[in-house]
Amino acid sequence: MSALNNPVIAVIVSLIIAVGYFTMVDHMLMDMQGLDYWYLFRE
């Protein structure tokens, strides 16, 4: 836990969790509606 209290590590870990979580939310919730979240990137 002491390593996580290092601001740099804390920011990196937090970013990984938050970005990963929101990307998952975006993808999953679009998928559940039968829509493609990555539409623009696939075109």
Binding site: M1, V13, S14, F22, V25, M30, D36
Partner: protein, 638 residues
């Protein structure tokens, strides 16, 4: 039998009677929903001679035996539309709106009362438990006088319908005959329960009896909610009829008539709206009492009351836009044209006004919370960041209220180069507006989190990581909301429409995860100082009054929009409105009418508050007689 045992027995009997009253209308409805029973008899009679006439349900598409008369074809005249030398629609609008305001208030307040009384019962801190109990009592006291007024206004509404729209009301009551009877019985049950609940407060204030008393509030709220659901079925039927054939003839299935396409979304939207409205009105009451208070003790009590009411109101305000989205989605699914009339056609400008009101609600809430941080030591550390929240709120608000197209003169149109402004026009679409409102709500959640930790310093070993994680999570949430809003411009409409769901999920993630994380971090936290209730600026109280007024105005507006979307129909596509007033009013007229309704409601509710204060003035005199020389306590008995 001892006095306590007798009290217990009586209270259990009262509770059983309430449950019995609650079940009575249901039991009555079980054997036959009035008209439904007639169906086989009619069938039997007709077997010998005529053919049984069957009809097809306009919504469920099922076949049923016709048991009702067709919807009347009205003509403009004294038979169908008797009138005074005044627009009948305005009269019915006024009667309906006032009844709805009071109805919403008296349905919401007992729910708050139940929650607060429960908090008082389960809390271990005796002083706090007493405070909660007094607060719950204050709440129910306000609603009691309002309850009588609600009943009176309900009577006025029925008489207005009977005298000004007799043919339409006769058709509606023919269809809803069993429902209307059940409604009336439920109302009797609600009144009885409310009075026993209120007058039994002091007699059932401890131990087992308190639990019985609390159970009564549960019964009271179940009855209240069912009452609202039944009333919603009438407006649901008028907007999206079911259970009748295309001529409007009842097909014998009362459940189909109640359970229309829009019934459930309306139920959810109304229950959340009523709660938010009730919270706003009680907060305004507390603000008024705070401003009129002469002692620090009173100020402390009403400051606390205002905060609790505001928090409860806002707790229901936050999910309200999402319930609104669901309602609109169902409206579009039911009739696309109806959705277009609402959001992109005749009534679209009213939605811009609605957006402005929603923005005002959230701005007022945030402003109140920032002001409230002033009463706790240690919250100064957040003051310097508030300007960034103001920036976010202002940006979200401006995007949210930007119209898609402007009303312009030909010269202005030419000068701008089209109906849409080259830059601002981009913000007039749903993609941007979804982003705007989600930014506003997320900022409100952030303000709440700051308020909750204002005077505390976390003592958990991972506090530093927790703080950084919260900051990063909120920052990523904002980026995700804005990213999804921008992304919507680059993908087709059928894909774009789905982006609102992850946007909402982002906002709700902040609400649930950050509140939970904050609570864990603040468990056993070091307090910089107590919350100094009563030491808050007067401006904050005006923000509460603003909040309540905006709620009232918005409720009037949304009711008008929902009702107007039927255009020239009494019952959509079934019974046409042939009165001279079957047209949509101008935005200006509607706004003036809503303002008049709001003004009347506030003047009358001030009268209700004043009546309530008469009882409050009387109480200390009685106390003084009983307990000579006792120092009055803010959280004392009643």
């Amino acid at each position: 039998m001892g006095s306590v045992a007798r009290k217990k027995l009586l209270s259990i009997m009262a509770l059983c009677a309430m449950v019995g009253l609650l079940l009575l209308p249901i039991v009555m409805a079980l054997p036959s929903p009035a008209i439904g029973e007639e169906a086989p008899a009619v069938e039997g009679e007709q077997k010998e001679g005529e053919k049984v006439e069957k009809g097809r349900d306009v919504y469920y598409k099922t076949e049923g035996v016709v048991v009702g008369a067709p919807a009347p074809k009205t003509v403009d005249g004294p038979a169908d539309y008797p009138r005074y030398n005044f627009e009948s629609r305005v009269l019915i609008w006024f009667a309906n709106q006032q009844h709805l305001y009071y109805g919403s208030f008296v349905l919401a307040v007992p729910i708050f009362c139940m929650v607060i009384e429960f908090m008082g019962v389960v809390t271990k801190d005796k002083a706090l438990a007493k405070k909660y109990d007094k607060l719950a009592y204050d709440f129910i006291k306000i609603s009691l006088t309002a309850y009588s007024l609600t009943a009176v206004l309900g009577g006025i509404l029925i008489f207005t319908f009977l005298t000004l729209y007799p043919t339409f009301f006769s058709y509606l009551s023919g269809i809803f005959r069993p429902v209307m009877h059940i409604y009336a019985l439920m109302f009797v049950a609600e009144s009885g329960t409310l009075y026993i609940y209120y007058y039994g407060w002091d007699k059932m204030k401890e131990g087992f009896l308190k639990w019985i008393h609390l159970s009564m509030s549960v019964v009271l709220n179940i009855i209240g909610t069912l009452l609202m659901f039944l009333a919603n079925s009438w407006i649901g039927f008028m907007m999206s009829p079911a259970g009748v054939d295309e001529q409007g003839r009842f097909l014998g299935n009362i459940w189909h008539v109640i359970h229309t396409a829009l019934w459930n979304p309306l139920n959810l939207h109304r229950i959340l709206g009523n709660m938010a409205f009730g919270g706003g009105v009680v907060a305004a009451y507390a603000a008024y009492k705070f401003l009129a208070s002469r002692t620090d003790e009173d100020r402390a009590h009403y400051d606390w009351m205002g905060y609790i009411a505001m928090s409860l109101g806002v707790a229901f305000l936050i999910p309200l836009p999402f319930a609104g989205y669901w309602l609109m989605r169902e409206v579009y699914a039911y009739r696309q044209q109806m959705g277009i009339t609402l959001m992109g056609g005749l009534l679209a400008w009213l939605f811009i006004i609605q957006a402005t009101m929603i923005g005002i609600l959230f701005l007022s809430t945030n402003y109140y919370l920032w002001q409230a941080m002033g009463r706790m030591r240690g919250a100064e550390k957040y003051q310097r960041y508030i300007k960034y929240l103001v920036f976010l709120l202002a940006c979200g608000f401006m995007v949210f209220i930007t119209p898609h197209t402007m009303v312009m003169t030909p010269a202005e149109l030419k000068a701008m180069g089209g109906q849409q402004h080259p830059v601002l026009g981009n913000y007039g679409v749903m993609s941007a507006k979804n982003g705007g409102i989600n930014v506003i709500i997320t900022t409100t959640v952030l303000s709440f989190v700051w308020y909750m930790r204002g005077n505390k310093v976390s003592t958990v070993s991972w506090a530093k990581f927790g703080n950084i994680f919260m900051g990063v999570f909120f920052a990523c949430a904002y980026i995700n909301i804005i990213w999804l809003a921008i992304y919507g411009y680059y993908i087709p409409a059928n894909v774009r429409v789905g982006l609102s769901v992850p946007q909402v999920a982002t906002t709700l993630s902040c609400l649930f995860f950050m509140f939970a994380l904050n609570s864990v971090m603040m468990k056993g936290a070091k307090q910089m100082g107590p919350i100094e209730w009563g030491k808050i600026s007067a401006r904050s109280q005006y923000a509460l009054i603003m909040l309540a007024t905006a709620f009232t105005w918005m409720m009037g507006l949304m009711g008008y929009i929902r009702s107007s979307v039927r255009l020239f129909w009494h019952v959509n596509e079934i019974m046409r409105d042939n009165s001279p007033w079957a047209y949509t009013h101008t935005v200006g007229f509607a706004a003036n009418m809503i303002s008049a309704n709001v003004l009347f409601f506030w003047i009358s509710i001030l009268f209700v508050f004043w009546l309530g204060s008469l009882t409050a003035k009387k109480a200390p005199v009685e106390e003084k007689v009983g307990v000579s020389g006792a120092v009055p306590q803010p959280a004392g008995g009643h």
